[in-house]
Amino acid sequence: MPNTPETKIKSALSPQIRSAQKKRATAVANEKLENRPCLSFRWCVFAGYGLLLLGALSICLAEAAIGMHLIWGNALPWGILLLATGMVSFLISKRFMKRIARLIGLTRQISRGDFTPIGPISKYRDEFTTVNVALNRMLEELDTWHTGMEESHQMAAIGTLTAGVSHEINNPLNNIMLTAYSLEEEYADLSDEERREMIADLLQETERVHKIVRNLQDFAREGECVLKTLELGKLVKETALLVTNQAKALGAKINIKVQPHLPYIRGDQRQWKQVFINLILNALDATAKDGKIDIHVEKDASPGFVAVHVENIGAVIPRHILSYIFNPFFTTKPPGKGAGLGLSVSQGIVTRHGGRIDVTTRDGRYTRFTVRIPSTDIAPEQCISRRETLVMTKG
């Protein structure tokens, strides 16, 4: 049978014709026949049993044409409008999202203790400009507050160190006193060689006191040259000297390993000493009698950084408090033993020097604090003034 429109209509109408065998009905076929426009006269193609066929109208409309008509007639302007609206909203939301992402980044920076004033968030004056101004005002206040907190914490650290340092000073002072009195009492009975030996002892012990005092001064007093090129290994060793007696009193041992030929770092010596004193004193507080603290100074895996690891064997920080330990005023020490500022202040100092401080703990084995510090190619002995320091640290 040829596949003409008539045969197609007939086959399309047959179900309706069969179901309406004994009643009058209007049968409609709306099959898709051809996808091209046409208008033509046709013969009646079918008269079913018991049905009175009045006639058949064959209407052929091409779907594509209807589609095109709809698109060009109505849908296109709406579509363009929709697209334009979508694009405008996309651009606006992209612009907003970019600024919001920047704000989120800034809050992270602030939470790490970096209170450097922020540059403009938007190119033009808008709602974000107000947020910008408010944030900078807040950062200024935070910086003032943080500096005060650092100073008060530094005073507390000096208090803790004083006991240890006074012991450290009293030892050589005692040697000086005993030697000087012995020299005075036994002068006539001593040989020249013995006298010279005693004088050498006096000089050596005086130098020892001088070194301890100078070390403490470096920590306690703000010198004129704040930003300096520093030898990290030497700095860590000097800092550990300040807490030798706290360790001795506990029976704890501090082992320091410094990798040779390390690059220099740049920063404020006093502030770096404060960071390491905080870490070592914390480690000592958590150390059992006869415990061990390992300090490793080495090149970090990240290029351009040097790392100091302070590892406390046997002491563990419970996992549930790990995320709080850098928060100000968070402490696990009994009242009067610590204000909970040590790690928070240290984190602020490390961040301001462009570094990072992290903690890892392994159940029952160790707790390790790692400080990563950017290295420098600037040779030592080149001092930068306080003013320049401020410019550098505040970005």
Partner: protein, 136 residues
């Protein structure tokens, strides 16, 4: 026959022994000066000393452990503790555990000689060695 007061002097600072030993020998005491506190524990075990002068803060074995060992060995022994800085708790602990006296660094040789003289008096042998406290 006069007894010679036997003194054990323990301090990990070499100069303390170097200066105090002659200063005490000069006035008639028998002095053994040690820097290693572990060796000192061994000597306390082997010998009975009249007076032990020990620094309190030393690595590995501290002055309190020396004091305990000395008290365990002989109730007669008088232990004088030297401390780098005055710590009330430490002083109380030392006195509770039977220390005779505490001397704070820095001190003069004469200060220690005075305390030793008092300890000797307590041991009731001061007269026998005929010791005169030197003027400071």
């Amino acid at each position: 026959m006069k007894d010679i007061l036997k003194i054990l002097l323990i301090d990990d600072e070499k100069m303390v022994g170097d200066r105090l030993k002659p200063a005490l020998v000069k006035v008639g005491y028998s002095v053994e000066a040690l820097m290693d506190p572990r060796k000192a524990l061994q000597r306390i075990d082997e010998n009975e000393f009249d007076i032990i002068v020990t620094d309190i803060m030393m690595e590995e074995v501290d002055g309190i452990q020396i004091l305990e060992a000395a008290m365990k060995k002989s109730y007669r022994t008088r232990v004088i503790v030297i401390t780098g800085y005055a710590n009330v708790n430490l002083a109380r602990e030392a006195m509770d555990k039977g220390a005779f006296d505490i001397i704070e660094k820095p001190f003069r040789p004469g200060d220690l000689r005075n305390v030793i003289a008092n300890a000797a008096k307590a041991l009731d042998i001061q007269g026998e060695i005929g010791y005169q406290s030197p003027a400071n």
